[in-house]
Amino acid sequence: MFSPEGLFGSPHRSLRVTSVYLLRTNHPPYRSIFPERIFSFLSYPQLVLGDFNLHHPLGDPCLSLSEREFIISTSYFDAAGDLPYHLLNTPGVYTRFPFDTISRPSVLDLAFANTALSSLVSSWDTPLPSTGSDHVPCVITLRPPAIMLPPPTLHWALLNLDAVGKALDTFTTQPCPERPTPNSLSRWFDISSTRLTSLVTESAYCSRYCTYLMLDVSYSGSSIVALFFLPCTFLICYSFLLGYLFLSSLIAFTTLLPFRQPYAFLLVLLD
């Protein structure tokens, strides 16, 4: 695919998607396509995906492999890793569920992204229902890279113990189901534990990195610090700017005063 303006505003204007279906053969490399034909070095984004008919511990960590099967699959994974291509599959998430009860589920559908594409890959998932095939559809989602702020973390040192204690005194759980089943008991436990956790976290302060000055500040919903933080940041930045302008004017004035050239003074000031 080609876009003259760049993909998602990135500098890359092309995206190559390679659909692969490897069939078993009786001669080396024991699959229908050589790994070198599948994976090639490209400076622009490339996605290689398909039914590889390969078993490898990187995709299926719980699988015990025969040595032959390991050697066959490793040649493909090595070819991918050397360029490098990155495996997008979530390890251990099966993509093939055989109809017979003898075989175990396996990971045969693989997706690889080269380095240029890696930053655009948002997720690999199997969210779609069964289509009647013994394979499940895999969905790879591309999304433009975004700067994600880290989620706020709890600042336990500033935990308001008095408030938590008072809240815990009044805390009551919902009555336990009269005839509990495993599911209803699990649901009751989840609801109660979530309520209890939120009760504690609401009383705790959060730490969040400030995007402007990279300062670690603490705030809570009722904290006065949160109300004054942004104006204070603005005032500090403004003071720094005024100070910089004053100092540069002073230096320029003292340097160029003997020459009595006002235009040069202006040039330095603007610089």
Partner: protein
């Protein structure tokens, strides 16, 4: 001509996601249709579908409304196909 990608080059715009689906259809028309109808369950319809062992009808690749199909020019029956949404232009 405005395409899907150029439409979202403005950094202030909210970028949509770009889902790519991969599936082995085992040459079955039913599997193929089930797959394409299940796209309604995705938060955003799939724009590109990579199929292994696609179904054929009278030696012609099966089509689905809203998608263009591509298969490599091989002497026998192609084992892979790509379906591209027409919204991509």
């Amino acid at each position: 001509m405005e395409s899907f990608f150029t439409r979202y080059t403005d950094s202030s715009a909210v970028f949509p996601s770009f889902p790519i689906v991969q599936h082995n259809c085992f040459g079955s028309r039913d599997v193929f249709l089930s797959l394409f109808h299940s796209f309604t369950m995705l938060p955003q319809p799939s724009l590109l579908v990579a199929i292994q062992d696609p179904p054929f009808r009278r030696s012609v690749l099966l089509t689905f409304p809203g998608f263009m199909s591509f298969a490599p020019p091989t002497p026998g029956r192609p084992r892979v196909a790509i379906y591209v949404s027409r919204t991509l232009n």
